[in-house]
């Protein structure tokens, strides 16, 4: 049998199983006496072994088998394995790397002897006090089924309100395994087992079983509300599975689609302008119909690009754990809102910034256990990562209950480098962030080898700006730090306010606009040496876009409008020459030439075909 065509499937599935291993190891560390994590670990390693054996990878199989043997011994007394948890982590890494090597034909070259030796020692140290039978044959999803014909996507809904929906789902999966190989179970098996899903799950089924047989098998599990079998979808999933772990739809196709929709939206804007002045009632009707359909189409395409954040968050527990261990800290990591959806393109880009913030939290935020104890805090620190969305914005928070940023230190350094006047008493939160974000700015505490050399936060901020997002910091000494990332749910198309300055029009994304007001020159005041504007008895710093952009030439007569830009708590009044209107704009990737003012986040083509720059609200406040 030609096994090469199963290689991609093997890589995908084995990675999934090893991911389960990683989660189980973390859980085991947290609850060293609990049996379930060891059971889960055993099961996943066992499954991996079965797949590796089916692929004929002898060395991988051997390592998995020996690991399984030691886990078997540990099952009766999980806490005795505490000392070797680290070994298991290294083994999981080795298996993952090995799997990649093996599919390229490199299994014979894999040498796991150092790990095997350590395993031998471990198994001697672990007294065989109990036995643990290997699960009955056929109990695990087999990755290789000789009768593989086409794969179908099966979507199942467990009856809402049924007890133990996860167990019900597992039962259904087990029943269909009799019909063919099951793969790509979503949400992941570990999530289903822990009842961490809403009753909906899907999987791919290979083999030639009829739709009726599949239906009967799934429904045979009981409490099944609905089953759908989708062959076309499954083909797409299978195709995508070969390229990337969790990309279900070819992103390039979606990008192209989004590009067309963007053009359509631009054309729609122009069409609406023409219809506006037309006396042809039919033209106006058709234009408004096209406008509606375009909006629907846009909505659909945006939806299709949405991806749950767990696809990126999944690797973070490991990052946090490894770093905490390396630094001798105790950290509990909590994740919330993993199902929150975000544009795939944005999601791909926030992984690195988030890792930076998480590392920052563990390294600079959480104190050493002894220090925490001295302060009367629990020795185990907490780092939380949460995601939530409203209609158009996704908020991602990274918070820790550690020491907070030392304002005095930042203040001293900020004064030293001239960022703050010498008489400054405190660093305001908002300035703190910008201070931390300045290129090359660093405090001594930041200069460890772990978190980079002062460029980190700046990289985070500029990456987020590039995505049309922003980052805020909230920190209190002794209590902790929270970073809040604000991101547009989708990149490509945003609604913007068009403002004129000089001869140019500029687009200001509405997400950053609080309101627009007329700018009365008799309400100008001063705030900390800056020009400010009195709005409803509050002072708001002003930004004269003309000056900021270096626009010369005559200003139009009459009163100027001001756009109140708001990011989080911070507001500024942006004075422009005139407001032109609102429009949906297509954000074009923006490679700012060196020396460009750090005010723009992108460029766009307006409805009449002229280009305009997109102002970054976060750069103004």
């Amino acid at each position: 049998m030609d096994l090469s065509r199963y290689a991609a499937l093997f890589v995908t599935e084995s990675r999934e199983q090893l991911g389960v291993c990683g989660q189980a190891l973390l859980e085991w560390e947290r609850r060293p006496t609990a049996t379930e994590p060891v059971v889960t670990l055993f099961r996943a390693v066992h499954t991996f072994k079965g797949m590796a054996a089916a692929m004929g990878y002898a060395n991988l199989t051997e390592l998995a088998h020996r690991t399984e043997t030691v886990l078997d011994l540990l099952r009766s007394d999980p806490s005795s394995g505490r000392e070797i948890a680290d070994l298991f982590f290294r083994i999981i890494d080795a298996l993952e790397q090995g799997a990649g090597v093996a599919v390229d034909g490199g299994d014979p070259r894999l040498d796991f002897s150092p790990l095997l030796a350590e395993l031998d020692e471990a198994s001697v140290a672990t007294a065989p006090t109990g036995s643990w039978a290997i699960p009955a044959p056929g109990g695990m999803p087999a990755v290789v089924a000789p009768e593989v014909a086409a794969s179908r996507l099966i979507q199942v809904v467990v009856t809402p309100g049924a007890t133990m929906r996860g167990a019900r789902a597992m039962l259904a999966l087990r029943k269909v395994e009799a019909l063919g190989a099951v793969s790509a179970v979503r949400p992941p098996l570990a999530t289903i087992e822990q009842e961490g899903f809403d009753g909906r799950f899907s999987f791919q089924l290979a083999g030639t079983a009829s739709a009726d047989q599949v239906m009967a098998a799934v429904r045979g599990a009981g409490d099944i509300l609905d089953v759908t079998i989708d062959a076309a979808e499954a083909e797409r999933v299978a195709e995508a599975a070969g390229r990337g772990r969790q990309i279900r739809i070819d992103l390039r196709r979606l990008d192209a689609l989004m590009g067309h929709v963007g053009e359509l939206i631009v054309a729609r804007a122009r069409l609406m302008e023409l219809a506006e002045v037309s006396t042809e009632p039919e033209l106006r009707a058709v234009a408004s119909r096209i406008a509606r359909v375009t909006a629907d189409l846009h909505g659909e395409v945006v939806q299709a690009r949405m991806t749950p954040v767990w696809q990126v968050f999944d690797r973070f527990p490991r990052v946090v754990r490894d770093l905490a261990r390396q630094l001798g800290k105790r950290v509990r990591f909590e994740v919330e809102g993993e199902e929150t959806q975000l544009d795939r393109a944005i999601l791909d880009d926030i992984g690195e910034p988030l890792i930076h913030l998480l590392r920052n939290a563990v390294d600079h935020g959480i104190e050493l256990p002894a220090e925490r104890a001295r302060q009367g805090k629990p020795e185990e620190g907490q780092v939380r990562l949460s995601a939530a969305s409203d209609r158009t914005t996704v908020l991602i928070r990274v918070s820790d209950n550690g020491r907070g940023v030392d304002r005095k230190r930042v203040l001293a350094e900020a004064i030293q480098v001239g960022l703050l006047p010498a008489e400054a008493q405190d660093v305001p939160d908002e300035l703190l962030l910008r201070v931390l974000g300045r290129p090359g700015f660093t405090t001594a505490a930041q200069l460890t080898d772990v978190s980079g050399r002062g460029m980190g936060m700046d990289a985070v901020i500029s990456r987020l700006r590039g995505l049309g997002g922003s980052v805020e910091i909230d920190t209190q000494v002794g209590v902790g730090t929270t970073f809040t990332l604000r991101l547009p749910m989708t990149l490509a198309i945003v609604r913007a306010l068009l403002a004129r300055v000089g001869d140019e029009r500029y687009a200001i994304p509405l997400a950053g606009v609080a309101e627009t007001v007329a700018f009365h020159s008799d309400r100008i005041a001063a705030l900390e040496g800056r020009e400010a504007y009195v709005l409803r008895e509050r002072l708001i710093p002003t930004v004269r876009l003309r000056d900021r952009l270096g626009v010369t030439g005559p200003r139009p007569p009459g009163r100027q409008p001001a756009v109140i830009v708001q990011i989080g708590e911070r507001r500024v009044a942006v004075v422009v020459d005139a407001l032109v209107g609102q429009q949906e704009i297509v954000v074009e990737p923006f490679d700012a030439p060196l020396g460009t003012l750090p005010v723009f986040s992108g460029a766009t083509i307006l409805g009449d075909g002229t280009p305009a720059l997109i102002v970054d609200p976060a750069a103004l406040v």
Binding site: E36, A133, P135, M164, M170, E193, G222
Partner: protein, 120 residues
């Protein structure tokens, strides 16, 4: 001919209740077991059409018993009887070869539905 059943539970109350539900539906209760070990032995002797199996029992738990029974007879039809909150164990039992499960407290109709699915 009516189907034969082996009822395994360490609580006599539960055994009685399950036996009553099944007997009223026309099943023949051919044996009862109080421990996992006893369940395995009685299964070997009686070869019942169906086994109801409690999860937590002294002297070999239900999961291990399922594993033993299914090792000897892969076609064994075992219905797990679980309490709320034992989903991890139920999943393990399913991996071990259990064919279905019901959750205490039992509703007779739910038990019979599950039995029908298992007996098919």
């Amino acid at each position: 001919m009516s189907h034969t059943v082996l009822v395994c539970d360490d609580a006599i109350f539960m055994r009685t209740m399950i036996s009553d539900i099944l007997a009223q539906a026309g099943f023949e209760i051919v044996g009862e077991a109080e421990t996992g070990r006893e369940a395995v032995e009685k299964y070997r002797q009686l070869k019942p059409d169906l086994v109801t199996m409690d999860i937590v029992m002294p002297d070999m738990g239900g999961i291990e018993a399922v594993r033993e029974i299914c090792k000897a007879d892969p076609d064994a039809k075992v219905l797990m009887c679980s309490a709320m909150g034992q989903q991890a164990l139920v999943v393990e039992a399913i991996q071990a070869g259990a064919k279905d499960f019901v959750v205490k407290p039992f509703q007779p109709s739910r038990v019979l539905e599950a039995v029908q699915r298992v007996i098919g």
